[in-house]
């Protein structure tokens, strides 16, 4: 019984990195030869969905690296938000086969998903103008318009003969 418990514990420990410890995008791409053809788990934010008949490409972003996931169209249809400036995309976890140069997809680096789980639904990000920036921009633009018209007036008055600035005399 004790031996069985130890064996089970060891097996669980071996399985944990594959199930729980998702590889980061950076690690996958930096070591793509090593991961080629292997089962990986990848977690990140959805930044793009393209449905192609019964399948779909879902681009998932993780800390500066985005990887294309080839999954079923049904998985893609369950995605609520794709990340951009005004949205945080759904967070998903994907388990599947990593290809450094996928023979099915013209040599693209991708992951063919066996399982696809939405961990968190994304949200809308409110972007409101920053008041000090608005004030500065309005003041600068008024100043610019004033200078343009004032200088045009000065040029007309002086018959387009313009003096040197004081510092240059």
């Amino acid at each position: 019984m004790k031996k069985l418990a130890v064996f089970t514990a060891i097996m669980l420990l071996l399985l944990i990195p594959a199930v729980v410890g998702a590889e980061s995008g950076e690690v996958l791409i930096e070591n793509s030869r090593g991961f080629d053809g292997k089962q990986v788990t990848f977690q990140g934010e959805v930044i793009g969905v393209m449905i192609r008949e019964n399948n779909a490409w879902v681009n998932i972003y993780d800390n500066g690296i985005a990887i294309g996931i080839w999954c079923s169209a049904d998985n893609a249809r369950n995605i609520s938000f794709s990340g951009d400036y005004t949205h945080v995309g759904d967070t998903v976890m994907v388990g599947g086969t990593f290809h450094m140069a996928c023979p099915e997809h013209g040599g693209d680096t991708d992951i063919h998903a066996d399982n696809f789980t939405i961990l968190a639904v994304g949200r809308v990000v409110a972007r409101t103008p920053d008041l000090p920036t608005v004030v500065v921009s309005v003041v600068l633009m008024i100043l610019a318009i004033f200078i343009i018209f004032w200088l045009r007036h000065v040029r007309k008055e002086k018959g387009k003969v313009v003096p040197w600035p004081m510092s240059w005399r």
């Binding site: 030869r33 393209m50 991708d110 972007r127 409101t128 610019a144 200078i147």
Partner: protein
Amino acid sequence: MIPQLTREDLKIIGYNLGRVGNIIGVLMLVPIVISIIYQEFDIIPHFIAASALALILSNLAVHFLNTKKEMELKHALCVAALAWIFMMMLTAIPLYTTHSTGSYLDANFETMSGFTTTGLSLAQDVDHLSHSINFYRHYLQFIGGMGIIVVALTVLARSEVGSVLTFKSEGREEILRPNVARTSRAIFGIAATFLVLGTVLFAIVGIYEGMNVGTSFFDGVNHAMAAFSTGGFSPHSQNILYYHSFPYEIVALIIFLIGSFNFAFHYAVLSGKRREMFKNIEIRTIFITLMLSTLVIAAGLLYFNVYSSPEILFRKAFFQAASAHTTTGFGTVYPAQMSNVWPNLPQTMMSIIMLLGACANSTGGGIKAIRVGIMAKAFFREVKKALSPKTAVVSEKYHHISDTPLTDTVVKGAALITIGYIVLFFVGTTVTMLYGYNGVDSMYETSSAVGNVGLSCGVTSPAMPSMLKVTYIFLMWAGRLEIMAVLVLVGFAILALRKGIKK
């Protein structure tokens, strides 16, 4: 003897820089349209503030430095060189204030990369940038691409060395159109046509490949601008790989190949001179070097078992090679894979073709196909001479719009610019290696910056040392201006320091 600099010289330069700044100030307001469409109202003040600042500085310069004295070649070259720096600093403001880049230096890097149609990027989190800022990045590439052609035709053409690449040499200055204004209109007409065509094609393919209509058009406009200007920016960090689409890659390939052709060639073909497609020295040179380099790259990738099938080799080897040779910078391979997975042979071949570059008077960078073609012809002429009897007269000509004799002056001009590029390449590679990067990666990234390409093997990142960022800004700038204008500017500065400025 070189005359001493006068205040009048500085006034001419300052006045013309002011005029450039005025144009930039107005152009910076255009992305506000995108901000309104996508309701990104928080971005609008950043464009307004930067535009206002540009207009204030420029109008003051135009007013106080107003001069009726004619601009000479030395002034024109200095204005060309300084305008790029001036534009970079002004247009970097919205990128910095919207936190699209990590620092003002990074923003300058991004705008210099944009204006020089390079495509190396230090933007933070491109996938989450606002639509207006993303549009702005691509739009800068389009403006820069068109701008360099006008500069090449009107300024660089007037220098002895620069003449090799333009129509001014050999009395062929009227080939495109008789004057600068009409030439510029012709250039913008051609560019606008391909911009519309590119946008429609990208959008149709995007929709066909499962993207929504809005995103397809937005990405289409951006990619059409980046492709035609051989820029290489993309609204996505994965670049063209984002789409996982062969048709999308084909459209990109067509548009950037067209963008890399000489505008005189475009004009000639559109005017009915179809034979130019087969006779033009630049087209022939680029075809030969592209095919040879693709063969070497594909052989290397095949030998080292990176890719196996012909389709994969076409989509990875040919696409990357064409993107590098046309100095576009679109990629379907991750930068880290270029360094870690691609063997040294294909990576080095990529560095070489990035340095060779596209056609003269195009939006492309690098040494330029016409110079490579001229030097190759000169090489064969010398071999012919050596094999011919002493009394024989060996002459050679090249065809670019019309037949032109291959004179020693033309060869010298081509060789001088080539030497300049090689010097820049060695300086950049050495500096990169001094920061601890390996030789192959250093050559690759330097070629990309000098040749205004934009492909990266991972060296360019916000975390790279500041001095390396400054070095690459310099390389992109000097490479874009074909060195000559930069040397004249340096000469101006030395002259001012040694002899002072005459009142």
